[in-house]
């Protein structure tokens, strides 16, 4: 991808307290409430919190022996955590509580702003979120000396517009955003975005409600490249969607929940993630996935370490462990998305030849060439894009 000047707006470190919005300030009500029911009262009730913010402030209490990881559910092979614990000697509190990027952000935003612990030492959000976090300066810079396996990363992911040189994040898993379809229902092979608009499929087509995942392939079909980050091009794609929506072509806008519509036959062509189709196709061989002719986009989920972490070295050890090719092959075999490491074919073939041969898991270079991604947007552009697409999906 061509070199582009960074367009991140980096706000200066916030001055605590004075300029932030506050309701009553840490005023009467806050104090009264705190005195009536101090944190100790509820800490006594709780069993599971390991977070304590009595120290608050910048110097987070460190804990060298434990690591708290926050990840999407079913996004790790079944023995991985136990194996890592054995190899590293750390005790891992692995939580599958990462639900949705924006919801997670809404939840941790104020904590990170206030430098309060968010309950995790390592989190695995999607790259657009990583870009945002970098801009907000809420991530620890990685110490490459602790991650010798970093060299295994794919070249194209190392030179990333989100995080050039991957100084704050390391990709964990990637996937392709393309079109899934039911061959038996369509009667033919689907090859391009135009097929989404085929009147024969009226009311049986779904699109993503997320702006980037939904509009990427449509922009490419219009001849625009998402990597240019051109808002007008995004608007053009959104207009196409709005038109089709009004014509009744689109059944609904989905999050991750398109799979059952596809499996049930309610929907014949859907924007989809490659890994889902690997799973669905196992039960229904009629289902297929294709990266549209004009091109598709990739998503990348990356590991990051928030500034409130309590075990930076431990998190880096985790990253290094993930990047060991043999370990990573385990992950791929279970998760069945697209690897972020370069060439693990050998290791994968050794444990799971079927996956190694699956083009959705191990895509050939001609498909990889058709994939593009969005750059990092500054916050105003991000909001503008979200707003313009929300208007289309929220009629």
């Amino acid at each position: 991808m061509p070199d582009r000047p960074k367009r991140l707006v980096v706000p200066s470190r916030r001055v605590p307290d004075l300029s932030r919005r506050r309701f009553l300030g840490r005023g009467a009500a806050g104090m009264a409430a705190a005195s009536i029911l101090g944190p100790g009262f509820l800490a006594a009730c709780g069993g599971d919190d390991d977070e304590s913010t009595e120290e608050g402030g910048g110097g987070a209490e460190q804990n060298e022996n434990a690591l708290r990881v926050s990840n999407w559910p079913f996004y790790i092979s079944e023995t991985f955590v136990a194996d890592f614990e054995e190899a590293s000697g750390l005790s891992v509190d692995y939580r599958e509580d990462f639900n949705d990027n924006e919801e997670w952000f809404a939840r941790v935003r104020e904590s990170l702003e206030a430098n309060q612990d968010i309950g995790a030492d390592l989190v695995i959000p999607t790259d657009f979120m990583v870009g945002r976090l970098i801009g907000l300066e809420w991530l620890e810079e990685l110490d490459d000396a602790n991650i010798p396996n970093k060299g295994n990363l794919r070249e194209d992911l190392l030179a990333s517009t989100i995080d050039d040189g991957r100084r704050y994040s390391l990709p964990y898993m990637s996937g392709m955003v393309g079109l899934a379809y039911n061959r038996a229902a369509t009667g033919r092979d689907i090859t391009s975005v135009e097929d989404l608009w085929d009147p024969a499929f009226a009311g049986r087509v779904t699109l993503f409600s997320d702006a980037q995942d939904g509009l990427g392939m449509i922009m490419l079909a219009n001849g625009d490249d998402p990597a240019d980050g051109d808002i007008e091009a995004i608007q053009r794609a959104a207009d196409v969607v709005a038109e089709q929506r009004d014509a009744g072509q689109i059944r609904r806008f989905t999050g991750n929940d398109y799979a059952d519509d596809l499996a049930a036959g309610n929907v014949v062509v859907a924007q989809a993630y490659s890994g889902d189709i690997v799973q669905l196709a196992a039960d229904n061989p009629d289902l297929a996935f294709v990266v549209p002719e004009g091109g598709g986009t990739t998503f990348v989920d990356s590991m990051i370490i928030p500034i409130t972490t309590r075990n930076k070295a431990g998190a880096e050890a985790w990253m290094d462990y993930v990047y060991d090719k043999a370990n990573y092959a385990q992950l791929i075999s279970y998760i069945q998305y697209v690897p972020v490491l370069s060439d693990i074919t050998e290791e994968l073939e050794a444990i799971d030849p079927e996956s190694a041969a699956n083009p959705l898991i191990n895509p050939p270079s001609d498909i990889l060439d058709r994939l593009s991604t969005f750059p990092a947007f500054d916050d105003e552009e991000d909001a503008a894009i979200a707003a313009l697409y929300a208007d289309v999906t929220a009629e």
Partner: protein
Amino acid sequence: MTTLTTAPPPTASPPLAPAPAPPQAARPPRRWGDLALRLVAGLVLLYLFIPILLIVLFSFNDPEGRFNLTWQGFTLDNWLDPFRYEQLTEALVTSLKVAALSTAISAVLGTLVAVALVRSRFRGSGAIDTFLVVPLTAPEVVLGASLLTLFIDLEWARGFGTIVVVHVMFEISFVALTVKARLRGFDWTLEDAAMDLGASPTRTFLRITLPLIVPGIVAAAMLSFALSLDDFIITYFNSGSTVTYPLYVNAATRTGLPPQINVLATAILLVSLLLLGASVLWQRRRPAST
């Protein structure tokens, strides 16, 4: 119960004995009506369970992939390995604990409010009446986020404790409204009678009033429990790293819901049914009470 040493009292005739020989025409419609009523009620109950039946069925499904969406074949494997996904089980247990604890607290707070509001008209009772409805009206997203702001300002760590706190908050109104529906038309002179006989207000409340309104409290508690188990968005904002069952399931849709979710759900339903059935049997042994 006083035992009588004299002859047993004459059996009282029913206070409103039907007039002798009502016209026969009045009878059959009532019986048919009764039957129709039971049928409709049964259908509604069945309607509530339609998806449940499917969920139970799919707990025996044998999918190849990680999605449990189309019937592939029957297997007992899922039932033999229900706790395969540790996080799932843990989340479920957490949710049950939160629900039990928050229900207990909100039942107490809500009942006290309900009784106070219905029993006497005091200054401000009208305003409190209205105020109780307001928490129900606030959209969960913004309420959840605003609560988070509060906790951050108070520097309370988000976790099990804060989840219980927010659950109690939205349950109180449900409890109060439900119990009040029970209390309307309550004969407060019963309390007067008890106190005339020398009982203290507290004792009166505990021994006379409370037992009579227990159905209302139990119903309210059931509602609260259900609400708590199912809450997603307010919990999401204020749960820190604690994972409740709805949080876990919602996140799992991205990569697939395994049959174990169905298995655990079915297991809970079965256990609850058994407990309910047992409560009936237990009641039978006690002397008949209203």
